[in-house]
């Protein structure tokens, strides 16, 4: 039984108020400790203000706190509340909560929404349920322990009272210091597939996305930005732009020029008609420069190792053979299907912001600093997002909207064209990994990984697999400074680190004459039973998904014409293993199917979970195959889908998902199936074609794949 304290200071714990039309609104404000097993966040006492209303007809409205980018938290987080409240899911209405300082983490990122809210959202529901029971006990003058609940009713033998009937009587009722959460075996909503709460709006074309937002009289703003990273605006001529029908204003801010129009097309045409002169004398980087700088770093020692167990260099020196391979990946744009956009209306002291943003609180803070206003004078409404993938962690487009609105003294919506979106990105930075393995007497005696990439120095995950499983182990990371904006891209760092690592282990197993799965299992057994140093993953869980994927994916069993590739990776607290099946057709490799095993603890919403996992695999394989993005003189060399290839339906494999049965608290699914996908694919392609792949994109130009 999980018992949770409701609040240290009970006076401020719960505020109930009557709704005008009958019914009850409950405002929670509580502290709640998440599971002790959770290592991060470390000092985890949440202080949450959530809102729940129960109408007199029994309808329950749950405010969903976090931004929705397609990871489906707008459905799955309210499911946690509804489960403990003990109502029918069909009686639940979900609304997007506003940005509110009382919520602890209104962020979409790191696959953390469900993991970090597992106890707190359930507690909201359990507390409200207890309030209904206390109210009913008073009505019937019976002991609370004689009462139960089901489907939105409090039950007392043959008698029952609906939550709707009780709601208006619950104002001022006290609840005890402790409430009890359900045991997983008693769940009726969690673990059962529930449909996306915005499904009807999406399939009928309702205006739910940021770009759909409209306020009477607002102007559309399309922005001319420097054509290259490192370029500056010298001067511009807007004579022709101002002649375009519908163009209402042209505004310079910094090195950018915004064209305002009374429709998007007018603003886009106006921007094209601008004539700008750019100062290109600054530092303009290109891909060959990045390549040579990263190669230099891979061939020298980092200032300080990220981790060193034993003596890997000595192991290399005394090895029978040192097996070495280098893997490389380019920058990547995010390419959310909904291009960047944001609405801002700066009037006097007040600022109204509406749009798609993964970090609403941080962005509001930045805008407050930019406009020299108090965050309290800024409202921010989160819309549904047409994809995030990390791009909408960065609020540059929202800051642009705020600055333009202030300068123009008008409400504006900034809209990026696809070209703007792809060429003014915060890219996944390019990176390279050099792996070395020492082999002596047929055994793996040493491991040395050097990672190097652009813009920041966090290229390795030193305490994850294979840490703890290899006696002599050296991990290093170094970076190349750059003026190209880079940032998080779905499964940051690991989106390529995992591909490289899992390709290397495949090749290493072949070199050692071992089975690729068995080599991983041998390392994990060591890490589990007698780890070398501290590790930050659970080998047992990794072994579990590896064995499940191998079984379901028929690893080691010959299938005529099918080449299989294996990969396993732990990230974002979730364990994933994948088997890719590649066949040859007319001389070309085709990935037909991917078998995936996942350990994410309790699966909250199974169909939606499968959707995330399938999407991550398709995304990971698509970008490994086709992701091709380079710079010449600071200028991105791809700008739209005619010269940048994304995976399409013909090329996408079927994805067969299997979950490890678990009663552990749930972890996230927005990212973890992506990192292992490229490695499974490359390993299967190597078997099918005889060619090892070391550089992304695996497929150049319009070559056929799939």
């Amino acid at each position: 039984m999980t018992v949770i304290k409701t609040k240290v200071d009970r006076r401020s714990f719960l505020k109930t108020s009557a709704l005008a039309g009958g019914g009850l609104m409950i405002g929670f404000n509580w502290a709640c400790s998440p599971s002790a097993e959770v290592k991060d966040p470390a000092s985890a006492w949440f202080d949450i203000n959530a809102y729940l209303t129960i109408a007199d007809n029994g309808e329950v409205t749950i405010m969903s706190p976090n931004p929705e980018i397609g990871q489906n938290v707008k459905t799955s987080m309210p499911m946690l509340v509804a489960e403990e409240l003990d109502v029918d899911w069909k009686d639940v209405i979900v609304k997007q909560a506003p940005l509110d300082n009382a919520f602890p983490r209104q962020v979409a990122g790191g696959s953390q929404s469900i993991r970090s809210s597992w106890k707190s959202m359930r507690m909201a529901g359990a507390t409200a349920r207890r309030l209904m029971i206390e109210t009913a006990a008073k009505e019937w003058a019976v002991d609370v322990n004689s009462l139960t609940t089901k489907g939105g009713y409090v039950l007392n033998g043959n008698k029952k009272l609906s939550y709707g009937e009780l709601a208006s009587k619950a104002v001022g009722i006290e609840i005890p210091e402790e409430v009890t959460l359900k045991e997983p075996k008693d769940f009726t909503i969690i673990g059962k597939s529930q449909k996306n709460v915005d499904l009807d709006e999406i399939i009928t074309g309702k205006p739910v996305f940021g770009i759909d937002y409209k306020q009477e009289g607002m102007q559309y703003a399309v922005v001319l930005r420097p054509p290259a990273f490192g370029a500056k605006l010298k001067s511009f001529d807007d004579t022709e732009a101002r002649k375009v029908n519908g163009v209402t204003d042209v505004i310079q801010f910094g090195d950018k020029v915004a064209v305002l129009g009374n429709n998007t097309w007018a603003a886009m045409k106006g921007k094209k008609a601008l004539v700008a002169d750019w100062d290109m004398s600054g530092r303009l980087e290109d891909t060959p420069y990045h390549d040579s700088e990263m190669n230099k770093l891979l061939n020298k020692r980092a200032e300080r190792p990220s981790r060193s167990d034993g003596d890997a260099l000595k192991a290399m020196a005394s090895a029978d053979k040192v097996f070495e391979k280098t893997y490389e990946a380019p920058f990547l744009p995010h390419n959310t299907m909904e291009p960047m956009n944001f609405f801002a209306d700066v009037t006097g002291d007040k600022v109204k912001l509406v749009g798609p943003i993964q970090t609403p609180a941080g962005t509001r803070g930045q805008i407050a600093r930019l406009l020299e206003k108090s965050p309290d004078d800024i409202t921010l409404e989160m819309t549904r997002m047409g994809g995030g993938f990390g791009r909408r962690l960065y609020g540059d487009f929202a800051l642009e909207a705020a600055e333009i609105s202030q300068k123009a003294n008008k409400a504006v919506q900034v809209v990026f064209s696809r070209e703007d979106d792809m060429t003014a990105g915060t890219y996944r930075p390019a990176s390279k990994y050099k792996f070395r393995a020492a082999i002596k007497d047929g055994k793996l005696t040493g491991y040395h990984l050097s990672g190097a990439g652009i813009g920041r120095n966090n290229w390795v995950r030193p305490d994850w697999f294979p840490a703890g499983g290899i006696e002599n182990y050296l991990i290093e990371s170094s970076y190349v400074d750059s003026n190209i904006t880079t940032g998080a891209w779905r499964a940051p760092i690991t989106n390529f680190l995992a591909v490289a690592e899992q390709c290397f282990f495949d090749e290493l197993a072949a070199e050692m004459g071992q089975d690729a799965v068995q080599l991983r299992l041998d390392i994990l057994e060591r890490a589990k039973n007698n780890p070398v140093g501290e590790i930050d993953y659970e080998p047992e869980k990794m072994i579990g998904v590896i064995k499940l994927a191998a079984e379901k994916g028929n690893w080691g069993k010959a299938e005529s014409g099918v080449s299989k590739g294996f990969s396993a990776y732990y990230s974002h607290n979730t364990y994933v293993a994948e088997v890719a099946d590649v066949i040859m057709k007319d001389g070309n490799p085709i990935v037909k199917n991917v078998t995936v095993a996942v350990d994410c603890g309790i699966v909250v919403n199974p169909d939606a979970a499968i959707n995330q996992i399938q999407g991550g695999v398709v995304d990971g394989m698509g970008h490994a195959l086709y992701g091709d993005f380079s710079f010449i003189n600071g200028t991105p060399q791809a700008s739209n889908f005619n010269n940048y290839r994304l995976i399409r339906t013909k090329e996408a494999p079927t994805v067969d998902v299997h979950f490890v049965e678990s009663l552990n608290d749930p972890t996230g699914l927005g990212e973890p199936s992506l990192p292992p996908a490229g490695g499974a694919l490359a390993n299967a392609m190597a078997k099918a074609t005889g060619n090892r792949l070391y550089k992304i994109p695996f497929v150049k130009d319009q070559m056929v794949f799939g």
């Binding site: 915005d198 009928t204 074309g205 029908n245 959310t336 291009p339 047409g386 398709v618 399409r648 339906t649």
Partner: protein
């Protein structure tokens, strides 16, 4: 600027716009029909797919002046009660992730089923290859189209 008489979702509409204005922006900005989505502007992603006399077209690349008397259908006009066989299949399979490309996917699939009521998987893939889904919901999209076809 010119005045255009358009037939959209069975309704007569009058629009004042420049001749080169793509139907995408006429629908979204002039007529407030926001269901048709902007993705690339060059007919490469399919997010803006609408029907013109029953054929799936990319509204970002059809200027308003080229529409004349054609019957335009958008996602808002595909059915009256969200009960088109594809919309029902989309619910059954809970297809969307972010949802942004889905209107274009449904409109393209609807035109496919109009001309081929029992498409093979190959035919579905060929017809749908012009519609990008960045979230990678292709498995579910194909399953939904297959089950919609079987319910025709």
């Amino acid at each position: 600027m010119a005045t255009y008489q358009l037939t959209i979702n069975g309704k007569q509409q009058t629009v004042e716009a420049d001749a080169d204005t793509p139907m995408l922006w006429v629908l979204r900005d002039h007529l407030d029909l926001k269901g048709t989505k902007f993705g690339c502007g060059i007919a490469q992603c399919g997010a803006c797919t609408i029907h013109m006399d029953g054929n799936a077209v990319r509204s970002c690349s059809i200027p308003v002046s080229a529409v004349s008397n054609a019957e335009i259908t958008t996602i808002e006009g595909l059915s009256k009660k969200a009960d088109h066989v594809l919309q029902k299949a989309w619910v059954e399979h809970d297809v969307p992730q972010c949802g942004y490309c889905q209107a274009g996917q449904i409109m393209n699939a609807a035109a496919l089923l109009q001309r081929n009521s029992s498409p093979s998987m190959d035919e579905i893939e060929t017809a749908m290859n012009g519609n990008l889904c960045r979230c990678g919901t292709y498995n579910k999209i194909k399953a939904a189209i297959s089950s919609a076809a079987s319910n025709l």
